[in-house]
């Protein structure tokens, strides 16, 4: 569809910032297919705040800050259930399609038919001026105290070239667009090299991708449908990774492939593979980036575990997969490259399996099955409990920020949440 058809006459592109809550990442990524909507990476460029999914109460203060950072006129749309901290947000049921409501809200704002959403925080500096004189001078100590309310950064250790300069302390999240939704990190940086990482909040739950797999434990489900859902999950993860690396064309192709797999259409993964290579994205990932130490490897599961040389897959033991000659794919490196290749290979394998399993009667996997990010159900329940939690500091320390974002995006958000040891 051409862009001119997608955007109705008289409407401009709606720029929205997505504050993604629990189980809502797939919804928001589905909106990317609408050319009239544009998800922007900062609230400063947005006129619409889309709150998607349920927001845990601990992230409300962060949402209030994000809301107030949008320029006027602005509006808020809450897509999903549960409470959220913006009183004048327009509510939208989870089953609804928000594109129409978003365009209508933007139109109302443009015409002045709707007032701008007022500030939630008091109009006073969060860290008030503490200096004595009119220019902040006259405080205590060598730095003149803390005239701007926040302490000055001090010299800190440096890992890479030993040049000790100011250690920049920054807390990012839980609505940082380059991190999985909900993840909040406390970082110490020298330039863009990470000196220390602390997880303030693990990513939000994202059980929606696993929902059909979890359902198959209790009631019969079509194995072909499950394999298609697996391919969709892997392709979405690939699309997200490409988008974060700034490769818009492969990202669009990965998302389009995911959509075609959802509706049961023909998917050309060979074309996606060529795009990944020829765009320079796949060769541009440094080999060995994001490799887990031997002690840390125990917290991996699913495709990430198989990319690290362990061909663990429940499907090797389960009907109907054994009937069609299923063999797990594994590779050795265990780095970001291997995990990207693994997603693509497993997506192709899942689509191939779906074609071969088509027409078989639905199966109940009472003893558990292989989910998109690791084993699910009875046999998995036991061993998941004693998995070690991922030490994110050990994994990201010494990397440049861009590399760290790539490493985080090479795990699916829900897998990352489990690896960080979050319960539920």
């Amino acid at each position: 569809m051409a862009v001119s058809e997608a955007i109705p006459r008289g409407h401009r592109q709606v720029r929205y910032f997505a504050a993604i809550g629990e189980d809502a990442l797939a919804w928001v990524e589905g909106l990317a297919r609408d050319a009239g909507l544009r998800r922007v990476p900062t609230p400063r460029a947005a006129s619409l705040l889309l709150i998607a999914g349920r927001l845990p109460e601990r992230s409300w203060p962060a949402l209030r800050r994000v809301h107030d950072q949008m320029p006027h006129p602005r509006a808020v749309l809450h897509w999903g259930e549960g409470a959220q901290p913006v009183p004048d947000a327009v509510a939208l049921a989870p089953a609804a399609t928000p594109a129409v409501a978003m365009r209508a809200l933007q139109g109302d704002l443009d015409r002045g038919a709707r007032g701008s959403s007022p500030d939630l925080l008091p109009n006073e500096p969060p860290a008030p001026w503490l200096g004595k004189g009119p220019h902040g001078q006259g405080g205590e100590g060598m730095m003149g105290g803390t005239p701007y309310g926040r302490p000055m950064t001090m010299r800190g250790d440096e890992l890479r070239d030993g040049l000790r300069l100011d250690a920049h302390a920054v807390t990012l999240g839980p609505f940082a667009p380059m991190l999985p939704p909900g993840l909040a990190l406390d970082l110490r940086l020298q330039g863009d090299v990470i000196q220390r990482v602390e997880v303030m909040q693990p990513p939000f739950r994202d059980a929606m991708v696993e929902a059909p797999f979890a359902a198959a434990i209790d009631r019969p489900m079509s194995a072909a449908g499950l394999e298609r859902a697996r391919a969709v999950h892997h392709l979405r993860c690939l699309g997200r990774f490409c988008a974060l690396r700034g490769a818009a064309a492969p990202a669009a192709r990965a998302y389009a492939s995911a959509y075609r797999a959802t509706i049961g259409g023909r998917v050309d993964l060979g074309s996606l593979r060529r795009w990944l290579w020829l765009s320079g994205l796949r060769p541009g990932i440094a080999p060995g980036l994001g490799t887990l130490s031997a002690a840390q490897r125990g917290c991996l599961s699913g495709p990430a575990l198989r990319a690290a040389g362990v061909p663990d897959d429940l499907r090797t033991r389960l009907e109907p997969y054994t009937g069609v000659g299923f063999a797990p794919i594994a590779r050795q490196a265990g780095d970001v490259r291997a995990r990207i290749d693994q997603w693509l290979a497993e997506a192709a394998q899942a689509l191939d399996l779906a074609a071969r399993l088509e027409g078989l009667p639905p199966t109940t996997f009472a003893e558990g099955l292989e989910g998109p990010a690791g084993a699910l159900g009875a046999p998995a329940g036991g061993d998941r409990g004693d998995r070690p939690a991922l030490d994110l500091d050990a994994l990201l320390r010494g990397l440049e920020w861009g590399q760290a974002v790539s490493v985080l995006a090479s795990f699916s958000p829900d897998a990352l949440r489990r690896m960080l040891g979050a319960a539920g």
């Binding site: 992230s59 994000v66 006073e124 302490p151 070239d161 030993g162 920054v170 020298q190 863009d192």
Partner: protein
Amino acid sequence: MTALIALALILLLSGGLMLLLAQVEVGPMPGSEPQKVPFLGGSEPATHAWQRFHLRYYPMTLLFIAFEMEMMFMYPWAVVYAEIGAKALAEMGMFLLILSIGIFYGWREGIFRWQ
């Protein structure tokens, strides 16, 4: 004729300057206090924004000035050295002494370590 062209140029340039100045906003920064806080995905900055950012090419720049620029001055110095003699040697010695402080500083900071 020349006076007319000069007058036209003055008018054009001063008009352009006025247009530029007209865009400069005078007065307090627009927007509320929460809008002045940098966007960190919902978090607040913990430290002041005024800090020494670690430029990764900084050690390389230091080495470049210490070694490369010293060579640049040594070429013309070599041409006149035979003519001036001991005085030129003393001057170059002082110059190298000052530059070596940079090298020793870099050495102390560990810029010669292979990564």
